[in-house]
Symmetry: C2
Subunit: 242 residues, 2 copies
């Protein structure tokens, strides 16, 4: 009986996934774009992020136990930068991707242009939607976060981090694009390195920021589709051309 | 003596204007784009807008004295929609432009693509930067507003209104673009009609929204340059193409 219930649950999940894919295809009908359905994670609510913990410790005058600038003596070692979990793991940059995949079950997608479809946007803050993106010989981490910077007013923040050094990150440009209801919003920037803290990028607001009403306008039935493209940025001459 | 002092003041103003133009040219070096320096106006602080007054009256159970849906019996008549002033004027759509130019001294610029250079971004909220834009046979009103939606956290809101009916507005698409410090932010939407209230567009957040830190990243020495382009939107098929 339990087996049949589980089977039924799995079939329901598949139908739901198929429905999400259909919704995404309807929004992004451009052929060849890979649509990836990303479900939210709430762990942040119960386990404060490494940066938050580090900041709290600093405020209390204690040396932050997990801030990599303070603690990691080997500069080749990187602490786990997954923003969702206060994970004690640390390792070399090369093994960050397998760690994120295996321990935190973060999916990895291939392709220069993909569509990130975040489901259940209505869920209360704080909530994160995370995916890895493999492209141009590197891996990137896309983080969409719902957070209340001002109490009672949740906002959405989206940024891309390179799983690499800041020097490597400078060679790329990422673009996030929302397109629905006769509105289009595009954000282009150089990705930050995963060695920087995703929390501080978001708290600085140096990313794509959406208020709830705008997020609703861009959402389709509770799901937000974000088109992602990564390119190499040889010369930063783009400032001149509007 | 007073004459010489005034002359000296005028020369200083000219130098300041020239400097602002130079700054804008430096940001937008693309040849042929008209750069318009827009100084802020603070009138909003002292004279609440028509919509705010209307809302306040409605909350008190009084029929709003200046809400055009309630008061203007002739549907051809439009109240003064300049968001800066609680102006008792009302007239036909055709004479809104001369009224805004003559009474409120709002500049009008020609050209499909212009650069709006808002100066003195550091000034406290509420502050407005306004300009009219003549293009494709119609006139548009660009409003940039610094406002504290959440106390102590000023944000910038930019929107474009057509000085025409909502049906006419549906034929256009406007684009606002910020480009500096290896970051680019683009907002594209259908302009709203001037018959709708600019205050409600801004309070709904259905426009380009910038937090202070992002506005600083896009600013150059206290001035924010916004590239503006208006096109005709024949078919709204753009949602498919990312």
């Amino acid at each position: 009986m339990l087996f049949f219930t589980q089977c039924f649950g799995a079939v329901l999940d598949l139908i739901h996934l198929r429905f999400q894919h259909y919704k995404a295809k309807r929004v992004f009908s451009a052929a060849g774009q890979l649509v990836c359905v990303v479900n939210p994670t709430h762990s942040l609510k119960y386990a404060p992020t490494r940066c938050a913990a580090a900041q709290a410790s600093t405020e209390q005058g204690i040396l932050p136990p997990c801030h990599h600038h303070e603690v990691v003596h080997d500069p080749q070692l990187v602490p786990c930068t997954c923003p969702l979990f206060s994970c004690p793991w640390e390792g070399h940059l090369e093994v960050v991707v397998p760690h994120l995949r295996q321990t935190h079950r973060i999916n990895i997608l291939q392709g220069a242009e993909i569509v990130f479809l975040a489901t259940d946007m209505h869920l209360p803050a704080p909530t994160d939607w995370i995916i890895m993106h493999s492209c141009l010989g590197h891996q990137f981490l896309l983080v969409l976060r719902k957070q209340e910077k001002y109490e009672g007013h949740p906002q959405f923040f989206a940024t891309m981090m390179l799983i690499g050094t800041p020097t490597q990150a400078d060679n790329f440009t990422y673009r996030l694009e929302l397109n629905r209801n006769q509105r289009r919003l595009k954000w282009e920037a150089t990705p930050r390195s995963i060695l920087e803290c995703v929390d501080s990028v978001i708290s600085d607001g140096d990313c794509l920021v959406l208020n709830t009403s705008l997020a609703q306008l861009f959402s389709d039935n509770g799901s937000l589709a974000i088109g992602i493209a990564i390119t190499t940025s040889k010369v930063h001459s783009s400032e001149a051309e509007m």
